[in-house]
Symmetry: C2
Subunit: 147 residues, 2 copies
Amino acid sequence: MKINRATDYGVRLMVYLATEGGKTVPRAEVSSAMDIPSEFLAKIAQHLARAGLLEIKQGRMGGYRLKRSPEEITLLEIVEALEGEIFLNICVGDPKACRFSSTCKVHLVWKAAREGLRDLLGSIRLTNLIIKERPLQNSQERCCKYN
Amino acid sequence: MKINRATDYGVRLMVYLATEGGKTVPRAEVSSAMDIPSEFLAKIAQHLARAGLLEIKQGRMGGYRLKRSPEEITLLEIVEALEGEIFLNICVGDPKACRFSSTCKVHLVWKAAREGLRDLLGSIRLTNLIIKERPLQNSQERCCKYN
DNA sequence: AAAATTTTGGATAAAAAAGATCCAATTAGA
DNA sequence: TCTAATTGGATCTTTTTTATCCAAAATTTT
Ligand code: SF4
Ligand code: SF4
């Protein structure tokens, strides 16, 4: 019951792109800054591009950049783009996979757990994940409990 | 991000034992009633026994039974006995595993997600998971939202 | 147009985890 | 003692994860 490395790497990539604003960042830079194996990163970026989360520019001066505003992109989208839709147990996504699913109460717990997890991840936006070097001087604003 | 089959099987076993009250149930019976490969079930039962959740009786008339009252056993205990402590990302259990963990905000989200998940699973007891054939006639009681 | 740089996409592969299965030895009731 | 039940260790297969390699394609610069 853990996320994949690829998912964590994908989130790192997206957070890095968010901190770089709209710039196109070459793979090598993300790889070294974020400690992600370069070739693996290429595959992850392709997944995220197909999911409509980032844009890939090929050729010289190519690289990656966010396709949408970091305010619009949730952690849930990133995670599910890389892991597939979250289901903590097979029966949640496919009730026919278990002959007990219609009466089983554990089934309901896994369903509830999934909801809770997705709600949390869905409430976090890329903007909430950017690391600011120092806190804003004249602002008390906190967009959520995670920053 | 899914539980293992072994974990689901383990929960099925525990729920079955709970429905049988204090009886010692042979492995073959649990295996066929709960659709669990018998030899695999043996391994799972050994794990749960080491975790103090059930008692194994060897020899003729042997089998499995709960070691504690189903009221005292939570789903979290069962799941963690089989999966190990729940951490949705390596950095949650071992911050040294990632050089970003001290500043990374995603880290905090995975921590919060873990808390939420463990709280939910910890709130469900084996008694809440027993399947009653028909609802009690003269009782409105619901021990929680899962029954 | 040629050179330089950067990604693609498909193949491949090593390692780890998951999901069992086998069986000789052991245990304990009858 | 006979029989029925589990143990514990080894083994095995399959799937998933985590990459890596490289020729081809794309795009900018010279
Ligand atoms: S036993 Fe219950 S929780 Fe397990 S797979 Fe079947 S329906 Fe789902
Ligand atoms: S990048 Fe953040 S979330 Fe990912 S492993 Fe490191 S600390 Fe954890």
